[in-house]
Symmetry: C2
Subunit: 229 residues, 2 copies
């Protein structure tokens, strides 16, 4: 059918998450979490970024690459609702949707000039798996994109959600200093799957080349081990 | 290449603009301008909209259907900059981009239950041509989508742009009452192409089945005729 559209990646984002576990469930939740957007050779043209640094935030349209399915389900179960309440797929940001395209707003930190990868965009507040294909980058326009008065239905409560995080100093120091804040922010988002409430269980978050092991009890995450992978 | 993605419309939006001239250049600029989102038969399932009415705003990912090109240009000339200053395509919301997908935030007015079209979404603040294919609908999440502090570089000045509109009462009354506010809002956005500054020229905006004719002089649009098409 002529209205179908073939789209192709213009770039990929490099992030500290090679696995899904631990990635914040929305952009901006872990404001220190950074990524590098590397353009595909065909789109590696500095002119395409002219005046982009005037914008503090960007939209990324990206591929929910781990969520491609032949079929689609009209309802999904958001993890933050405990995983047992179903809402409509178009009333959710779930990756499992008819066209698996995600939307994230990120902060633009700067443009890195490189020899081998051309101009690379440095961004923060990401919620993306390493090597996620990016289909489009658009500037964030506060006068049409920002609606502080917007209501968010069942998702209202997500705004204030966070775990307390206890990350013992001697374990935290095993991470490079520039990776520490984001690790704490990601743990505060509670990476556990829906339903889980097992205080004795040790979870494992693969982040920035480290295995961060932690337990969760009474809305508090406690890091018990940090191992270089 | 396996990372290419074929996407297909889940819906189409019905609007009062059958031609491009007069459509606001961003969503939300004409807050009274409404549209009806009619789902394709395969996606016409009320379950897919469950709990959507809890959200005041939605994102639409849509097809820039009049802007498909074989090739892409790294720079574009935003009309609001006078049409002679080039910025990077990824620093712009231009429809002419490698993957011609647009992003608009709209207000959700409600869900209309119909016999022939299933559940139809009624939205306002649109900036879309009649019958635009919609690829995705996502709820607007203020806690991750709203960045009031965002800076918008060269686009900062667009926020306050508007023409004064003189729409004589006897001409305005020719429009159905529910179409009047949006007509004024669209004229205030200055539908003229970039460069144009011809006070004697009469422009013609096809809107809601009417031809609205107007002139522009000294930042003021004056409607001179309204004709039913």
């Amino acid at each position: 059918m002529k209205e179908n559209l073939m789209i192709r990646p213009i770039a990929h984002i490099q992030t500290d998450f090679k696995e899904k576990f631990g990635i914040p469930r929305q952009s901006g939740r872990a404001s220190s979490l950074t990524g590098r957007i590397v353009f595909m050779p065909d789109y590696r043209n500095p002119d395409a970024l002219r005046e982009i640094t005037g914008f503090s935030h960007l939209w990324l349209l990206f591929d929910f690459s781990k969520a491609h399915r032949e079929d689609w389900s009209p309802t999904v179960r958001p993890p933050r609702l405990g995983g047992n309440r179903r809402v409509g797929v178009f009333a959710s940001r779930s990756p499992f949707r008819p066209n698996p395209i995600g939307l994230s707003s990120v902060r633009l930190l700067g443009v890195e000039k490189t020899q081998n990868e051309g101009d690379v965009l440095l961004v923060s507040g990401i919620d993306l798996l390493d090597n996620t294909p990016i289909y489009d980058i658009k500037p964030y326009l506060p006068f049409s994109d920002c609606h502080p008065e917007a209501t968010a239905g069942y998702a209202e409560d997500m705004q204030d959600f966070s775990l307390e995080v206890e990350f013992p100093e001697e374990l935290l120091r095993r991470l490079p200093i520039e990776k520490q804040s984001a690790a704490i922010e990601c743990l505060a988002e509670d990476p556990r799957p829906a339903y889980h409430d097992e205080p004795s269980r040790i979870y494992s978050m693969a982040y920035a080349g480290f295995d961060i092991r932690f337990t969760v009890e009474n809305q508090k995450a406690t890091v018990v081990e940090v191992i270089r992978l």
